[in-house]
């Protein structure tokens, strides 16, 4: 057993867990944050992606010890109250989700992509950068559309702040 202390969606968390606990297990089973999904469990599908210190990482392939002291953001932590994050709003407006299983990981990856590239995103870049996120509904066309739409919205919202 180990004690880990981290920040999850802005709140300090202290947990006594076995060393073999994965970050996704801590989030889902211990903290009840079930928005982060386990899809393939083999590091390929990206449904479990969360932000660790601002970087989109697969929480199914991360031990809690590795994130002791880190700042974690999950899908539950990106909206401002009832106001959706621009990436969430763009997915809704562009029909960027079908069954929705991959969506939390897609959104967390997509925010990271826009953070790195800014609004200067093109379709090829988005498709290449989303390689680590698999959608079994094969809804990629509207997902890419959503990310491109969100990139321009996020630029506007950054400019407005």
């Amino acid at each position: 057993m180990a004690n880990v202390q981290l920040t999850v969606n802005g709140k300090a968390v202290s947990a006594d867990v076995e060393d073999r606990t994965l970050l996704v297990q801590l989030l889902r089973d211990h903290l009840g944050l079930t928005g982060t999904h386990v899809g393939c469990d083999t590091s390929q599908c990206g449904a479990c992606i969360v932000h660790i210190d601002g970087r989109a990482v697969k929480s199914c392939t991360t031990l809690v010890g590795q994130v002791d002291g880190a700042n974690i953001t999950t899908i539950e932590g990106i909206s401002k109250g009832d106001e959706l994050h621009p990436m969430q709003a763009a997915f809704r407006d562009n029909h960027g989700l079908q069954c929705g299983y991959c969506t939390p990981g897609m959104i967390m990856s997509a925010i990271d992509i826009v953070n790195r590239y800014g609004a200067d995103l093109d379709e090829d870049t988005v498709r290449h950068e989303l390689e680590g996120n698999i959608c079994r509904c094969t809804g990629y066309h509207n997902i890419v559309k959503s990310v491109l739409d969100a990139a321009s919205r996020m630029k506007l919202s950054i400019a407005a702040e």
């Binding site: 076995e18 590091s43 390929q44 990206g46 970087r55 031990l63």
Partner: protein
């Protein structure tokens, strides 16, 4: 995953001391090979010793002759490095087609080289560029380092500290990716060293892991061009065959990827 004990030492010496105490310890870097294997219960180390954040293992240095990438440097940092792009752009390209963005934030060059997965990218670059693998004990030339499937010259408790790549005259990398895993279905690294030596390696192809391809090296020594490889036949003997591709498919891929890599190298 079976039970284990996690450690995060601050120095290489501390890591080695912790390794000696464990009954069956393993070093952990990015964890994107070890953790999946532990989750499948194919590995059950008593202790995992996290060396990913030891400061002396992180960083990139370039001189006029050598590009040195320290072992725990992540793929993301390699891909973001102006020194890498300037000195050996083929390594920047290789890194850009390795895994996916989330994997590149965590995976490290030392982890890839120490694991020596037969479909990994970095072993191809290390062997083709005749790099030196530096450890906490010694320096190992690439030709002596890779010793077959998941096998290297490393002692159990030895830690790679850095990889030193001689800056080549030309180098190129071309990869046919497995679209789901992003590992190499077959990829080829071609290099013309400043000494004039030509070294060509293939990964994802051989049952013994990364390999040199002498027949292509000879053809390129006579004529450095993609066209020079047109008439070449690669033997399928010893190549992998699985649900993703037969051995003769991989043999053909070696030739085609080598041609693309030469074209990319210029």
């Amino acid at each position: 995953m079976y039970s284990t004990t996690y450690h995060r030492p601050a120095t290489v010496d501390e890591a080695v001391a912790l390794f000696a105490k464990g009954s069956d310890a393993k070093y952990l870097a990015g964890g994107h090979t070890l953790l999946p294997v532990m989750k499948q219960r194919l590995a059950a180390p008593s202790d995992v010793i996290d060396i990913a954040r030891i400061p002396t293992l992180i960083g990139i240095e370039a001189s006029s002759e050598t590009l040195t990438i320290k072992a725990a440097t992540t793929y993301f940092d390699i891909l973001s490095s102006a020194d890498v792009k300037r000195t050996i752009p083929a390594i920047a390209h290789l890194t850009s087609v390795l895994g996916d963005p989330a994997v590149r934030y965590r995976g490290t060059i030392g982890g890839s080289v120490a694991t020596n997965d037969p479909t990994a990218d970095y072993p191809a670059a290390v062997l083709a560029l005749n790099a030196t693998v530096k450890t906490n004990r010694r320096e190992i030339p690439a030709d002596a380092f890779f010793q077959g499937l998941f096998t290297t010259a490393l002692e159990n408790d030895e830690i790679i500290t850095a990889i030193a790549f001689p800056i080549p005259e030309k180098a190129g990398y071309a990869k046919m990716r497995n679209p789901a895993s992003r590992f190499a279905l077959t990829a080829v690294f071609v290099a013309k060293l400043k000494s004039g030596e030509i070294r060509v390696t293939a990964t994802g192809a051989s049952q013994d892991g990364v390999m040199r391809v002498p027949v292509i090296e000879q053809a390129l020594a006579a004529n450095w061009s993609a066209a020079a490889l047109e008439g070449i036949t690669i033997s399928e003997e010893g190549l992998m065959a699985d649900i993703h591709g037969t051995s003769d498919y991989r043999a053909n891929l070696i030739k085609v990827m080598a041609q693309r890599a030469v074209a990319a190298a210029g």
